[in-house]
């Protein structure tokens, strides 16, 4: 299935923009990741994107991500070596050599970093991830939901100091990991959910790196041709195997914004007043780091884990929850999550109830608007 695709400098911007859309308001600014990838490629390193089916069942593959505070990541930028150190420590501990790097979270900054690690190790990256978007906690991932153990998790700092966390519970790995992030200066490089090809094939949200690239490309090409980027974006999504249910949920102007920080989360909601065919209506989008639910009045338009992206109404540039402010002209786009994320097992971990919402999950294609 599929020939490997060479990632080049021309892909970096598309990938970053697509990853920001899939960040659904959170996931961290991909800027630092795109600079790291750019440097690796400018320095002559190469990285290939491969299909998960091309992994052998016994091939060892390791997901990579950065865990930490965005404020720290934009100051204490990695050196790249610590990423490799985390991977090597994982290989040593498990006693196998990695054949590929996996992506844990396609939404935001963590979409680009596995490519940087892979380029530095001469390994391919598998096209897919464990979230199909961004989520705030590391147990909210299909790898966990489908029985891949989170540990051993290896964390590495800029001195390549490494810490191993082993537990049979993903929540404990998350809890212990958080405190180690503080000790490592507020951000750290992690390898976790190490697995074999057969596990990747059954637990991965497939094709999401290609998806991010395609989203970025659709917007770039529409802008260059002075076409409507939304038409191009939706047309592209409809060609994908399982993100094909998508629609502009609402269009209007942000008129009210409520924000608070609770237990480290950026919580809040934004109100959008309708324009055009939405005139006279109001849409609210509730968020916890990422957008959770979009409502027209009381009616749910789209709810987690389906994706809700807020984009600039003219340029389709994604707007993160931190960048929201009064008076922005926005289009709210709903995109269906992959079927693997809509299973009962997945919904128990990353569905509406996991975020304290009362509403049941309803696939967006079954909601009349």
């Amino acid at each position: 299935m599929g020939t490997p695709m060479q990632i080049t400098l021309d892909h970096v911007e598309d990938l970053a923009r697509g990853a920001a859309i899939l960040g659904t308001g959170g996931g961290g600014d991909p800027y630092i990741g795109s600079l790291m990838l750019r440097q690796a490629l400018e320095d002559g390193l190469r990285v290939e994107l491969i299909d998960v089916e091309s992994l052998g069942d016994d091939d060892f593959a390791v997901p990579f991500a950065i865990m930490g505070a965005p404020t720290v990541i934009i100051e204490k930028i990695p050196n790249g070596g610590e990423m490799v150190a985390a991977l090597r420590a994982t290989e040593r501990y498990v006693g196998e050599s990695a054949k590929a790097v996996l992506c844990a979270e396609i939404g935001g900054l963590n979409a680009l970093l596995p490519l940087v690690l892979a380029a530095r190790c001469g390994l391919p990256v598998v096209d897919g991830d464990g979230m199909g978007r961004a989520f705030p906690q590391l147990q909210m991932i299909t790898y966990n939901i489908f029985g891949v153990p989170a540990s051993p998790m290896i964390m590495a700092d800029e001195y390549s100091n490494t810490v191993l966390i082993e537990s049979d519970r993903a929540l404990e790995v998350e809890r212990l990991g958080r405190s180690m992030v503080v000790a490592m200066g507020g951000s750290t490089n992690i390898c976790l959910y190490p697995m074999h090809g057969r596990d990747a094939k059954r637990s991965m949200v497939r094709g999401t790196l290609s998806l991010a690239l395609g989203l970025g490309r659709a917007i770039r090409e529409a802008r260059r041709a002075s076409n409507d980027p939304f038409v191009s974006l939706l047309a592209y999504l409809r060609t994908t195997p399982y993100y094909q249910h998508c629609r502009v949920l609402f269009e209007g102007k942000t008129v009210d914004l409520l924000r608070e920080t609770k237990a480290g989360w950026a919580m809040g909601r934004v109100l959008v007043e309708g324009t055009g065919s939405w005139l006279g209506r109001r849409c609210s989008i509730q968020f916890q780091n990422e957008h959770l639910v979009a409502r027209d009045g009381d009616r749910v338009l789209t709810i987690v884990p389906d994706l809700i992206a807020i984009l600039d109404a003219a340029t389709a540039e994604p707007i993160t929850t931190e960048a929201l402010k009064y008076g922005q002209r926005v289009a709210v786009v709903g995109i269906s999550a992959a079927p693997i994320m809509r299973t009962p097992e997945a919904l128990a971990v990353l569905g509406p109830q996991a975020f304290g919402l009362q509403d049941a999950f309803l696939p967006l294609e079954r909601i009349d608007i």
């Binding site: 800027y31 630092i32 600079l35 790291m36 750019r38 440097q39 690796a40 400018e42 505070a69 404020t71 720290v72 934009i74 100051e75 204490k76 930028i77 990695p78 050196n79 790249g80 070596g81 940087v116 800029e158 001195y159 200066g185 507020g186 102007k253 008129v255 960048a323 402010k325 009064y326 008076g327 922005q328 002209r329």
Partner: protein, 522 residues
Amino acid sequence: MIEVLRIGVDVGGTNTDAVLIRGKDVLASYKAPTTPDVGVGIVAAIDEVLRRAAVTPSSIGVVMIGTTHFTNAFVEARHLCRVGVLRLGAPATLAIRPLLDWPEELRAVVHGHTEIIGGGFNYDGRPISPLSVEEVTRAALEFRVREIEAIAISSVFAPVNVTQEQEVAQILQQELPGVRVAVSSQIGRIGLIERENAAVMNAALLPMAERVVGSFRRALADLGIRAPFYVSQNDGTLLDPDIVASYPVLTFASGPTNSMRGAAFLSGTVDALVMDIGGTTTDVGALLHGFPRESAVAVDIGGVRTNFRMPDLLSIGLGGGSYVRTDGGRVLIGPHSVGYRITTDALVFGGEQLTATDVAVAAGYAEVGDRDRVAKLDRKLVATAVDEIHRLAEDAFDRMKTSSAPVPVVLVGGGAILINRDLRGCASVTVPPHAGVANAIGAAIAQVSGMVDRIFSYEKQGRAAALAEAREEATRNAVAAGAQPTSISITEVEELPIQYLPGGAVRLRVKAVGDLMLGQAA
């Protein structure tokens, strides 16, 4: 007390404007062309306002200069020097080298040599690695052999701890006499790449900044003005010329800031939206208590990402010179413009291009140029175009408002004549007199500020006492910078807690602003 005579000068890309004011009164204003040696234009503009107001140079109390000269020079990559970058942060940060995403043409001009050595801090103040004097001197040698003229120093979390940057600056000045040095902590905020970019921009401008400040000085001396002079900075307060010569990027946003502060002064409103309509673009900004609202997002200057505190501005392609075109039944305004050629290319000035100004004249509410030349324009086209101009303006206003409540609007700039009716969502629309020289007026009324930016211990002295101490110190600094003590108010308090340092350490940034204290007029 007799209020002193103040001269405000705005050195823009096209024009150098001068105004002479006393208290609230604008006594004279004049626009002269900006000249390659900026001093020549300044002399011409000031000379003319003195003549018009029949005032002698010796009676001037103070001169304030605002300029977009440094911004323009950077964006156009003119008069920049090659910069060496010394980053303190290894072993962290090596995955992104300095200047990585600069536009190629700017990087080609500015990039001299870059080094990343041990140093920098964690967010909690713990060093990433100790500073090594040997490494600094080795880097200095690399800069010397490449004949680098200016060096930018950046350190990880320098806003939390400035000591390493300062120490390295001292070493480099000893090792490389004559080489200019800029440190990132003086310029930018959290965000290593953006702050480092700002420091590099600053370093690249240093030789030019010294020349320009020298040129300002000579211009005033040539005019026989012995009064003190100041240059306005990003937040609308004044800088000593010596500081501008070392930190020219601190003036980068002063153009729009001065225009908005000038609009506040001229209209007597302190909370309003300001629309500065030029020949090609319109900038809309918000005034809060007389100061521009600041942008929260990264600002690109010439394609380089920075995190300066800049006024939150929305620029749209509407100006006096904007093309007016039809497309099917629709009328399109801008974004293309005849720009500074408006006085030759617009219909009312004898040209061939239909512009927004022509439409305003044809509709009968603007009076410039020759009305007869637009008399035959289609009435329906004119009416539709006027509607479209107002729709664009309304849309821009609406996007800058922070709530749905109506707010007053102040129009400034030469293109203010395009607007002739109330805009939807606005409480009122004012075009104050002298609106065409709002920039120079904003410079003339600028205040002085005093800053405190250091670490306090809340555990040792308590939060209230620490804040009080910081306020007092900022006030003292403002007085030392020339502020009248009774006029000082605290305009900014920022608390940045620093965990894991013993004693509840908090970084406090406090700014005090007051009126410049001046002697009586001679």
